[in-house]
């Protein structure tokens, strides 16, 4: 008996290790602060370890871990009683500089634009566009209808396009970008 439970434990640990780089990429992209993101990953590892009996070996470890991390993230926000936002305005002003030609978007600018999205839109586009989850999986992770995820992803894309002034059939001049940035400044 102990033999098979040891085996399960090894499998669990191995699956968890395999999922960690992607989980950490999600956390860092979601939160921007590497320290906070790594703290969150650490909390997630401990939570996941404690409830490993509820995990079915061979099922979707990545989705399971992301769900735990996300719950932890929002419960920490609720506890602290405030939105966790980056307070430096440096990137807002940087974004007001019209970006270069279509298609060449600096990764730093992209991160900053991503940080301007509301949490729910940022997490949706990360789960679907970067973590590689299907819309249905993302919906399950976030506990909302698939249509909600689709519309969040769609809005996130539009907003990113505006902020970055990337490839356009339409004309996105400096004015359009200034408006976008100014609006976000007011909201914040």
């Amino acid at each position: 008996m102990t033999g098979s439970s040891d085996q399960n434990e090894r499998d669990f640990k191995r699956e968890m290790l395999a999922a960690l780089p992607n989980l950490r990429a999600f956390a860092i992209s979601l939160i921007r602060s590497r320290d906070r993101a790594d703290d969150l990953v650490q909390d997630t590892i401990m939570k996941a370890w404690a409830k490993q009996d509820s995990y079915q070996p061979g099922t979707n470890m990545r989705a399971w871990l992301v769900t735990i991390l996300r719950n932890e993230f929002y419960s920490q926000i609720r506890k602290s009683g405030r939105e966790v936002q980056d307070t430096d305005g440096a990137f807002t002003s940087k974004l007001s500089v019209p970006p270069e030609q279509n298609g060449s978007v600096d990764l730093q600018d992209f991160k900053q634009a991503l940080a301007l999205l509301p949490d729910d839109q940022r997490e949706a586009i990360l789960l679907v566009g970067a973590s590689g989850f299907a819309y249905e999986e993302a919906a399950e992770i976030c506990g909302c209808p698939v249509g909600t995820i689709k519309s969040r992803v769609s809005r996130a894309r539009l907003r990113l396009q505006e902020l970055l002034g990337i490839e356009d059939e339409r004309e996105f001049g400096p004015d359009a970008q200034m408006t976008a940035v100014t609006t976000s400044a007011i909201i914040r």
Binding site: T2, P21, G129, G132, I166, E167
Partner: protein, 67 residues
């Protein structure tokens, strides 16, 4: 990467304006780049150590109480 679904499945389904395919490509590429920069770092030692400790604690507990 086959891991990522195409962006085609959102086109035409979402209400209102949709980012054109060319723009979606740029966004997808940047998202992957963002992840890659983190994933390429591998797993930080502190997480490996943590897992090792959790594993050890469990093994020790396992010897005193039958699981």
């Amino acid at each position: 990467m086959s891991d990522f679904q195409t962006d085609d499945d959102i086109a035409g389904k979402a209400d209102g304006p949709v980012v054109p395919a060319s723009g979606r490509t740029v966004i997808s590429r940047k998202l992957r780049e963002l992840y890659d920069t983190v994933q390429d770092e591998g797993i930080p030692d502190k997480f490996l150590d943590l897992l090792e400790k959790l594993d050890e604690a469990e093994r020790n507990a396992g010897t005193s109480e039958a699981r």
